[in-house]
Symmetry: C2
DNA sequence: ATATTTGCAAACGCTTTGCACAGAA
DNA sequence: TTCTGTGCAAAGCGTTTGCAAATAT
């Protein structure tokens, strides 16, 4: 099931309307992987001459988050960035301090070790975020 | 060397003035461990009837960050929180989604593994942040 | 028909900044 | 004295929201 179908399903089963704004935004996103921010999505839409407003972009993003289709990270400067939720589980980020690029990785050793730590502290883990910042191959 | 001395040294060697506002803020912080935000620091200062302004608090925080005495995290809601830099190396955070409490931990297995990952990706690591969110012993 | 959604612009909350005055060197 | 720092209030910035008009069902 692709993202568009998943979203329309979510809308239908929750009594939300399938408006052209919502559909064009999810259509826009369903193709492209990678990270973007709210304004970036707004500009993307503008670029494809889809008519929408910043308000609708923000409201649609909120819906997409609730539907689980979009996941949010908060950048170091406090601004929000999103990405279409990776279907196959969690991954972490290598963030380049120079070019701002974000590379993804997944490491089971670390994931497992986190569970060990949580057990030790009596902590029930819901989610985690590991961000390594530095310089990528090109920029170092 | 305590935080106050370290900060006055930093000010002196960089040609910044040792004003009562700067000195009272670092004095206020040098005792207390734990996390706080800009407004919290401002309120703390008010509480001790130190006269200062929000602007000076923000400007002093910026200085303290540059001096390395303060480290900043961005909370999930995009707001900045600070803590007096732990003298003895890096640690990570267990953040409770219910009570908001932050517990700290350090784990060498994870730290070492990060280096391995970076080598694999040709990434030069400068810093990292690992945050595990969930429910603490009391709240789960 | 009618309840939801949209677009606009104003409101928000945190942070930063311009400016004139105060204060450290 | 001279240049930096302070306080105030205004501006910034990303994000959210109230409201009347538009639209999906």
């Amino acid at each position: 099931m692709d993202a568009v179908a998943e979203f329309t399903g979510y809308l239908k089963s929750n009594g939300f309307k399938r408006t052209k704004e919502r559909l064009s935004l999810i259509k826009l996103l369903s193709g492209k992987p990678g990270h973007f921010d709210a304004d970036g999505l707004y500009d993307m839409a503008k670029g494809e001459s889809l008519e929408t407003s910043r308000a609708s972009v923000y409201r649609t993003i909120a819906l997409l988050k609730k539907s689980g289709l979009l996941s949010e990270s908060i950048r170091k400067d406090g601004k929000a960035v999103y990405e279409v939720s990776p279907a196959k589980g969690h991954h972490d980020h290598l963030v380049c301090l120079k070019c701002g690029g974000i590379e993804e990785f997944k490491d089971n050793v670390i994931e497992e070790h986190q569970e060990k730590i949580c057990r030790k502290y009596g902590f029930e883990i819901k989610e985690h975020r590991l961000e390594i910042r530095g310089y990528c191959r090109k920029c170092r």
